[in-house]
């Protein structure tokens, strides 16, 4: 795609501007973009990432489809609507993730290439989940160790797995 302003250089900067729910897209080369953003009273270094993101979250630019229209629904906890979110680029509270789960799914996929968390789990809130993840990891390591014929390491891993399995059982019977 060529820059829509100078029609010479390739368009490498794609700007979606949402002002009062009116959307405007621009596809520009770096040079023209610098000029345009300057004209908008923005300069690149101070360009607000949140606002830019808010712009990107207009449904069709996320999925390439018309997508779900911004529902009139509001988060029952904080009162935020999805349109508010698009404008600010920020959610209102932790419950917004449930309220707007369907709309957020494609956003997350686009931002992260993933939608499911695999990292740290809070100790107190989800001790069981943490043990499960750890077990999963250890079992995988055990397979690798056996594959590489590293039997000493495998023995250590096996013992840790047994210990965690016991913990898991006592956690289950306890709660």
């Amino acid at each position: 795609m060529l820059c829509e302003q100078c029609k010479q250089a390739p368009a490498t900067v794609h700007i979606t501007q949402v002002v009062n729910d009116v959307r405007r897209e621009m596809h520009l080369c770096e040079q023209c973009a610098a000029q345009v953003t300057g004209d908008l009273g923005l300069s690149w270094p101070t360009f607000s990432f949140n606002k830019l993101l808010g712009g990107l979250l207009a449904p069709d630019s996320v999925t390439g489809l018309a997508g779900a229209p911004a529902t009139g629904g509001r988060c029952p906890n904080c009162g935020l609507s999805f349109a508010d979110y698009r404008r600010m680029g920020l959610l209102g509270c932790s419950q917004c993730y449930e309220t707007f789960d369907r709309q957020l799914e494609p956003v997350l996929r686009r931002l992260h290439g993933n939608t499911v968390h695999t990292g740290k789990v809070p100790l107190r809130q989800a001790g069981r989940l943490r043990i499960e993840r750890e077990l999963e990891r250890l079992r995988q390591e055990l397979q690798e160790a056996i594959g590489k014929e590293e039997y000493e390491r495998a023995a250590v891993l096996r013992d840790r797995i047994r210990m965690l399995e016991k913990q898991q059982q006592s956690a289950r019977s306890g709660g």
């Binding site: 270094p45 101070t46 360009f47 607000s48 990432f49 949140n50 993101l53 906890n77 904080c78 935020l80 600010m88 680029g89 920020l90 959610l91 209102g92 509270c93 932790s94 419950q95 993730y97 449930e98 957020l104 956003v107 997350l108 931002l111 992260h112 290439g113 993933n114 939608t115 499911v116 968390h117 695999t118 990292g119 740290k120 789990v121 809070p122 100790l123 107190r124 809130q125 989800a126 989940l129």
Partner: protein, 352 residues
């Protein structure tokens, strides 16, 4: 130790340590975004709700044995100058330094750990280490996170992980950053190509003071972009793997500069040193450029008798609020340039 004592130290304690790869890697930073379940995020919270977050965090810090000795500082108790000092020391963000709202910061005495309360998220836990020590910084942040979690109801979902105000941070809430000094990649014109290349590997490159700042003094901050769907250690390892190559390329470019025209490089370093050792008026931009050249000279053995940490120390010490603190009164920009020159002369004249 009080906040005044901390701020009156010329250099953050954590900076004094010696980290690996320090000829290129100036510092490592880990940031974790966390929120409290149910309470509105800071951007939409009302005064009362924001104050409630501050209260809960204060309570947690005072109760946790692991956090004993950390300083809890409400932002409204600070003067504009003190807020600026914290910003210049990388302990708070520009947004957090701005007036208004119920905000706080929790500091460890050596300034290696800070927790911003009510920034974009309820909690932004940060750990800083010199050199390339991302794994160690992560361990530190992880411990503080565990300690806080004992007392605070974190917003967490099994599917989405730690829930954050901006979906760009959701999941691990982890932003790992490495601060690199890349003068040779800049002067051999390779830096833009490298910034583009690391972008393809999911890294973002920013200037010295984070989002929206320019790369002054040839210092660049490399960070991960993706926070969801990978474990913390995978994210950190990936950042290390990619930046490791940038570090190697910078070293190669330095050797190339030496091979190609040693005299020109020595001249550039010596001129920068000469300017800093004798100038009477130095703008902050000029200082950063000259200090970068001097540091390059130290790392390549062209200048001796100077400590490499002088770059990081002066990067902070020559900023407006730090200069103002030294004189104890407000300074005009022209006065600052004079004072800055004097300070650098004094610090750099350790060579007899």
């Amino acid at each position: 130790m009080s906040l005044r004592d901390i701020l009156s130290r010329p250099v953050s304690q954590w900076m004094k340590g010696q980290g690996p790869d320090r000829d290129v890697a100036l510092g490592s930073r880990i940031r974790l975004a966390r929120n409290l379940r149910g309470l509105p995020f800071p951007a939409v919270a009302d005064e009362h709700q924001a104050a409630e977050v501050v209260r809960q965090v204060r309570e947690a810090v005072s109760q946790s044995p692991e956090l004993r000795g950390m300083l809890f500082v409400p932002m409204e108790s600070l003067s504009p100058l003190e807020r600026q000092l914290l910003l210049e020391r990388h302990l708070i963000s520009p947004d957090h330094a701005r007036e208004g709202g119920r905000k706080a910061v929790v500091l460890r005495e050596d300034e290696a750990v800070s927790v911003m309360v009510n920034e974009e998220d309820h909690l932004r836990i940060q750990a800083l280490m010199p050199g390339l020590q991302l794994a160690a910084a992560w361990e530190l942040a992880d411990k503080v996170d565990d300690a806080l979690e004992q007392y605070l109801p974190y917003a967490f979902s099994e599917q989405r992980g730690y829930l954050t105000a901006c979906p760009t941070n959701v999941g691990t809430g982890l932003r790992a950053s490495l601060m690199l000094h890349l003068p040779a990649l800049v002067s051999t014109g390779q830096i833009n190509r490298i910034i583009q290349a690391v972008g393809r590997f999911g890294l973002v490159v920013r200037g010295l003071y984070g989002e929206g700042t320019q790369a002054l003094g040839n210092i660049f901050q490399f960070s991960n972009q993706v926070t969801l769907g990978h474990t913390e250690s995978d994210i950190i390892q990936h950042l290390i793997n990619v930046t490791r190559q940038v570090i190697d390329q910078e070293r190669e470019a330095r050797q190339m500069l030496l091979r190609r025209d040693k005299m020109a490089l020595e001249d550039r370093v010596a001129r920068a040193y000469g300017t800093l050792a004798h100038a009477r008026v130095v703008s902050s931009q000029e200082a950063l450029q000259m200090l970068s050249d001097v540091r390059l000279g130290i790392d390549l053995g062209i200048l001796d008798g100077l400590k490499p940490e002088i770059l990081q120390e002066l990067l902070v010490a020559i900023r407006p609020a730090h200069l103002q603190m030294r004189t104890g009164r407000e300074l005009s920009p022209a006065e600052r340039d004079v004072l800055r020159a004097a300070l650098i002369r004094e610090r750099i004249a350790v060579r007899s």
